[in-house]
């Protein structure tokens, strides 16, 4: 049937069939929009895909432009890695939780570090007070990393680390732990998030000004290219833009703009795009709108492949792959009637699976309150296992392809994200767009708009602005994890004891070498690896960098 017949058919349907229903009962709303404000029509038909070309735009899994998936067999060959974010308290607490999760069938680890670690402070620093071991595990010295991974063979388990400003130090510690286990760095598998640009924009755990911060990112990219070939050096992350209030289109556009900058900077350092791009990975959020999110992932793969091919002339297919680790947007979870979050998280996993991710994180229903309990962490993992094994989701590739609606959304998101990218290019790239406030203001605009829609009731959130309950049955705060403030005392004692036992002269010498390497503008990884092996602390190492580079303070826009 050709376009002409379909157009006529639509016309007849509207006039004969639809009109009577609309006249009788109307529709729920005047207009419908996706979560990100893309208008949604009543019905999508092949007419909405006019101008699209299957072979050019969708093609085949594992082939350019990768709309249908980065690998040829996708989940028929191998499921995604279930990789739930965990870590709290002391290294001992976290080691116990990791071993529990591995025993429950979780194939990959994802380490949550506490805020002092993420910002390069030791647990005994005044700014660390009250935050030690609170939102993740506290790491001061190599001794802590040795404990976290005790009994966990690093040549079998892959580990993702949500660490950015001090990523070089934590990677150095991981390499040192591997060495002690007899696993050489060539065999290590995992990811350092290592994406400092999104810290400046949204997440807030930056330390140094942009220039030295980006230097550190590239030190990892370069070092791993040469010595840790299986390591995903950098996970370019849009998740936090979304969590800060961005919509799906902004999330994608800013992620790709960050990718462009990292690739440009790595090339300035003399690296060939095909040497490092295959080890870049990406992270996007799983939000509320199922179809829009799936379309976002599909558009992301296609747009990224085009950029790497056309703009950077990459030759290797591996350079084109937008491999992703994605997961539950915490901001979609609410504390009211918290068990409802289990359903939301199930939807997140569904989006991730239909979107073709390589690793997926599912949040725990109680995560908005506290550190998840063992039981809620297990449930989050079981959610993925049920979807993977019971529901027939993984037996064919990219099952939503060909949906007129999803293909239309995929095209639309790609188009709008490309417009943003063009605008950012015209400003001089993402650093300029951060410095002139554009990115902050764009995110704030979407954040305010979404809040307005929720406050006005235009956007329903169950349990928040509709179907609310005065007395929330079935939930008591005593069921959630109570943080043990003793962790902070234990951690400080451990740090003091490590400092007493180590060779002080070696540490002083190692820190001096680091300062000299900074002056010579060398790749700092070798000197940092040496320093952590002497049990120099994270705070001491970052302290040297703070002295040399100073600290960054972000502008604020409300």
């Amino acid at each position: 049937m050709g376009a002409k017949e379909i157009r006529e058919g639509v016309g007849k349907w509207e006039k004969n069939t639809l009109r009577r229903t609309l006249e009788a009962s109307g529709e729920r709303k005047e207009e419908f929009f996706t979560e990100s404000g893309i208008p949604v029509k009543r019905l999508y038909t092949p007419l909405d895909l006019e101008g699209s070309d299957y072979v050019r735009d969708l093609a085949f899994p594992g082939e350019y432009p990768y709309t249908r998936g980065v690998y040829p067999s996708m989940y028929r060959g191998r499921l995604w890695t279930m990789r739930n974010y965990a870590g709290f308290g002391t290294a001992e607490d976290t080691n116990k939780r990791f071993r529990y999760l591995l025993k429950q069938g979780m194939p990959g680890l994802s380490v949550a570090f506490d805020l002092p670690t993420q910002i390069g402070y030791d647990s005994d620093h005044p700014m660390a007070e009250g935050a030690v071991g609170r939102v993740g595990v506290a790491v001061d010295t190599l001794a802590d990393m040795e404990t976290i991974f005790e009994g966990i063979p690093l040549d079998e388990v892959s580990t993702s680390m949500t660490i950015n400003a001090p990523a070089t130090v934590l990677l150095a510690m991981y390499i040192a732990v591997g060495e002690k286990q007899g696993v050489s760095q060539e065999k290590l598998m995992g990811t350092t998030q290592n994406d400092i640009l999104k810290e400046f924009i949204a997440r807030g755990t930056y330390i140094f000004p942009p220039e030295p911060s980006i230097k550190l990112v590239l030190d990892i990219v370069e070092y791993c290219y040469k010595h840790v070939p299986k390591w995903n050096t950098l996970s370019i992350t849009g998740y936090h833009f979304r969590e800060a209030g961005a919509n799906a289109i902004q999330e994608l556009a800013f992620t790709l703009a960050d990718a462009v900058l990292y690739i440009e900077k790595a090339r300035e350092r003399g690296l060939d795009v095909d040497d490092f791009a295959p080890r870049l990975s990406y992270s996007l959020g799983c939000h509320r709108d199922l179809f829009e999110e799936v379309a976002k992932y599909r558009a992301a793969r296609r747009l990224f492949a085009k950029i790497v091919k056309e703009r950077f002339q990459a030759k290797k297919a591996a350079s084109y792959l937008f491999r992703t680790y994605s997961g539950s947007c915490g901001s979609t979870l609410i504390p009211q009637q918290p068990l409802n979050n289990i359903v939301r998280v199930t939807m997140h996993a569904l989006m991730g699976i239909l979107g073709g991710h390589q690793a997926i994180h599912t949040a725990c229903w109680d995560e908005g309150y506290a550190i998840p309990t063992e039981a809620s962490a297990r449930l989050a993992l079981r959610t993925q296992q049920i979807l993977a094994h019971e529901c027939g989701l993984c037996d064919t590739i990219d099952p939503l392809a060909g949906s007129y609606y999803v293909e239309h959304l995929t095209d639309e998101i790609e188009r709008q994200a490309s417009e943003y990218l063009k605008k950012i290019d015209d400003m001089g790239g993402i650093l300029a767009a951060i410095q002139n406030g554009f990115v902050y203001k764009e995110i704030q605009r979407s954040s305010v708009e979404l809040q307005r829609r929720i406050d006005s009731g235009e956007k329903t959130i169950v349990g928040l602005n509709k179907f609310t309950m005065e007395d929330e049955e079935g939930f008591e705060e005593k069921d959630i994890f109570e943080f043990d403030p003793h962790a902070e005392i234990l951690q400080k004692e451990k740090l003091a004891s490590v400092k007493a036992r180590r060779n002080g002269e070696e540490v002083t010498h190692a820190l001096r070498s680091l300062a000299e390497a900074i002056d010579r503008n060398e790749n700092l990884m070798p000197t940092i690896i040496h320093a952590v092996k002497q049990y120099a602390s994270l705070g001491e190492i970052c302290g040297v960098m703070r002295e040399k580079w100073g600290e960054f303070r972000s502008p604020t826009y409300i």
């Binding site: 805020l115 002092p116 993420q118 910002i119 402070y121 700014m127 660390a128 007070e129 009250g130 935050a131 609170r134 939102v135 810290e199 997440r203 807030g204 755990t205 969590e243 800060a244 209030g245 901001s331 609410i334 504390p335 009211q336 908005g368 309150y369 506290a370 704030q444 954040s447 305010v448 809040q451 406050d455 928040l464 705060e477 959630i480 943080f483 303070r553 972000s554 502008p555 604020t556 826009y557 409300i558």
Partner: protein, 135 residues
């Protein structure tokens, strides 16, 4: 003679970088006619107290999402008192266990706002309860 606008400091104390809620509240209060100063993220207790004194605010609103409120709130309250500004209305918002609310109120926090409260309600609360400083 124009009436003095209510002056509010919205603050993020400690290392937590989640500022979406704080910014939304700041924006809402500002839209409702108050003079709002937002400290930005990762402020020390001393920085927040100084800002409250220097900006001569009537209200200090602090946002916490990483669980360190029971450690940091008393320090800010103590700092304000020592700086002679024990009269400031102190509000706390964010991810706070209900079980912690009595402790916060006992310390001298005037009200705790939990997630899901429309920001406009915070504006109404301030307008209804603040004692604006006379000059």
């Amino acid at each position: 003679m124009g009436e003095r606008k209510i002056r509010v400091l919205i603050a993020k104390v400690g290392l937590d970088g989640h500022d979406r809620g704080a910014k939304i509240v700041a924006r809402t209060l500002s839209d409702s006619g108050m003079e709002v100063i937002f400290t930005g993220i990762r402020q020390t207790v001393g920085e927040v107290v100084n800002a409250a004194v220097q900006e001569d605010v009537d209200v200090v609103g602090m946002s916490f999402l990483s669980g360190d409120h029971l450690v940091l709130v008393p320090k800010v309250l103590k700092g304000l008192k020592e700086a002679g500004r024990g009269d400031v209305m102190v509000l706390v918002g964010g991810v706070i266990l209900k079980g912690h609310i009595p402790q916060l109120l006992g310390m001298g926090v005037q009200k705790v706002f939990l997630p899901g409260i429309p920001p406009a309600e915070i504006a109404r609360y301030i307008k209804g309860n603040v004692v604006s400083r006379s000059r």
